[in-house]
Amino acid sequence: MARGDDPEEILLILAGFDTVAQAIAALEDQRRAGCALVDAHAPFPIPELVEALPGKPAPLPPLAFAAGVLVAAATLLLQLYSATWGYPYVVGGKPLASWPAFVPVAFEIGILAAIGLALVGMFRACDLPRLHHRLFESEAFTLSAKGGVLLVFEAPHAEVEQRLRDAGACHIEVVRP
């Protein structure tokens, strides 16, 4: 606990709740009081809390789609090159630049690129792998790991703490950001 002497100092307040319903109600309280949520920790993506998060997530789906299309086009070009210039030979009377036959491979590789970007992009956007984070050392985290919910606010702690206790927080921790 790193509680400063100044009650107006902006600190990170971690509030643990036993039940999801309590956490959602507490969030509503804070929202009405004008205090925004910084982050929350829960063992599943609670829709009400996800909506309350500020900022926008990285645009993974459009990026994945773009990657898929680009890589599929590149694969088509590779096949075109290899079939017409690199190693041209006539098979079954089909033309050298037999584009319908090129579609399956280009499609599959495009899909690989899209899912590859989605997966790697997700890890990068979450800044994972990060095997240690100071949150793991806090008692509050074990609460969220066991099925409770941890809300994280960044605000002057004096006013926020009382409201959270009233809302039913069973554990409050204050740390420097």
Binding site: A21, A125, S144, K146
Partner: protein, 471 residues
């Protein structure tokens, strides 16, 4: 049907902590004697597989008895069969996620794991039947010293990319699904080595909602891509047969027909696993009879599409007026492989009609039997397509009745053993029910319950008490 008779998908009163302890307990607790027995038997079969594959690599694929006329035999039959089994796993994970079907939550993990291991078994065969498997890298398009490039117009080359993509897709999707559950196991494990193992596997996942947001996006990308992947992979594999000129192969219906067949056998295997695992681990309240009911309906749906495809094939053979097409069919019905054909019809056309009955669909024993018969029926379908189409082809001098050799059988049964072996190991490594998916369903059930109470002024008889706390 009164509301009171509808089985709840989530047992009333289940909370997050209970769920975590029950499901994680299957991984973190001690394994049963039955688990050791299954591991031992499947391990022995896997060993048999390894030995057989080594011998085949040493002596050559002539050991498979493949020769003119049936130049392909078991390897292609088993590739198609295994890939088919994998598809339902993908569909359950992905398409049911997109359509927000709540019954997906308790079965999607076992379906994904099944898909992963089925693909591994499927991928074995295309390598083996290459004739010179140590030159398999010729299929990769890289600039080499021989100036050699793959022959892009061949479905066999497409196969390589399709199965590779499907393998990477399935492993990516399975890992993504497992990530939050590994984090839960890391937090619940008491032994240091388990904490380290799951800590590494979880990559530092902290259940942060910001991360969950990105996670859901990645999940959505995987899910959206699932249907094109499933359709294209089996479509491409069916083209192995469809692009040839052999009468029993050369049907344009093959891609959708094989996809439907794949999904049929896939759902049958998921049902098989669901029935066995719910009994072995006492998960009857999480994998309910209602889940079996839905799985049975999916099995029936795809079986009917397959039955329609059979009718279309026969109709086309007659309508074409082509004596060779017609001859293949008469041979299928009366020739040396006729028992395979008629058994297939019995399993895939006659027995599946039992699935119309709700009582049958909700009966675990009946579903187990039907799942096994459906898988056998689908295997027989692939067998008779390959063998009957080629054994009596255009040239009568090449006609022969070919039967699989002992090496074919050893590798096939060995691959079944490998599948069970990997699944058994998986049961000890990762939770067989997706905890984070179940938690979301518990939360949604709680909200529906609360809304129902508000609207009616009273709770429903079956769903009251579904709380989302962790008391």
């Amino acid at each position: 049907m009164s509301r009171a008779a509808i089985t709840p998908l989530i047992p009333p009163g289940l909370n997050h902590r209970e769920l975590s302890e029950r499901v994680a307990g299957l991984v973190l607790g001690r394994p049963s004697k039955a688990w050791y027995l299954v591991l031992a038997v499947s391990g022995a079969l896997s060993l048999m597989l390894v030995v057989s594959v080594a011998y085949v690599l040493l002596r050559g694929v002539g050991l498979f008895g493949i020769n003119i006329p049936v130049a392909w035999g078991f390897p292609i039959v088993n590739t198609i069969w295994w890939v088919g089994i994998a598809h339902a796993g993908t569909l359950i994970s992905a398409v049911l996620l997109l359509t927000r079907q709540p019954w997906r939550a308790s079965i999607n993990r076992m379906a994904e794991a099944m898909a992963m291991f089925a693909i591994v078994c499927a991928g074995l065969y295309p390598l083996l039947h290459l004739g010179r498997p140590w030159l398999a890298f010729y299929l990769v398009p890289y600039p080499d010293t021989m100036d050699l490039w793959p022959q892009w117009r061949s479905p066999l080359v497409w196969d390589f990319f399709a199965i590779l993509t499907y393998l990477l897709y399935t492993s990516g999707f399975l890992y993504l699904s497992l990530l939050p559950d590994f984090a839960t196991l890391r937090d619940m494990a008491r032994q240091r080595w388990r904490q380290l193992l799951y800590g590494l596997l979880a990559m530092g996942w902290r259940n942060s909602l910001r991360h969950w947001r990105h996670y859901e996006q990645a999940n959505r990308v995987f899910s959206v891509v699932a249907v094109p992947v499933v359709v294209s992979v089996t479509g491409i594999i069916s083209m192995d047969l469809a692009v040839s000129i052999v009468p029993g192969y050369h049907f344009t219906i093959f891609p959708p027909y094989f996809v439907a067949g794949a999904l049929f056998s896939g759902f049958a295997t998921v049902t098989l696993l669901a029935v066995i695992l719910r009994y072995a681990y006492s998960l009857q309240d999480l994998i309910t009879r209602r889940h079996l009911d839905y799985l049975g309906q999916m099995m029936l749906l795809f079986a009917l599409v397959v039955d329609y495809a059979y009718c279309q094939e026969i109709f086309t053979a007659w309508y074409s007026g082509d004596e060779f097409y017609r001859a293949v069919y008469f041979d299928r019905w009366t020739g040396p492989y006729a028992p395979a054909w008629w058994s297939m019809i019995f399993c895939n056309v006659v027995l599946v009609q039992l699935l119309w009955s709700r009582r049958v669909r909700r009966h675990p024993g009946a579903m187990l039997a039907l799942a096994i018969s459906s898988n056998i029926g689908m295997w027989l379908e692939r067998f008779q397509i390959v063998f009957t189409s080629t054994h009596a082809g255009f040239m009568p001098s090449a006609w022969d009745t070919v039967w699989p050799t002992r090496w074919d059988w050893m590798i096939f049964i060995g691959s079944l053993g490998l599948f069970v072996f990997m699944l058994t190991l998986f049961l000890r490594l990762a939770p067989i029910i997706s905890m984070h998916d179940m938690r979301l369903e518990i939360h949604r059930a709680g909200k529906r319950e609360a809304k129902g109470e508000q609207r009616n002024g009273r709770g429903s008889a079956t769903q009251e008490g579904a709380r989302n706390g962790s008391r």
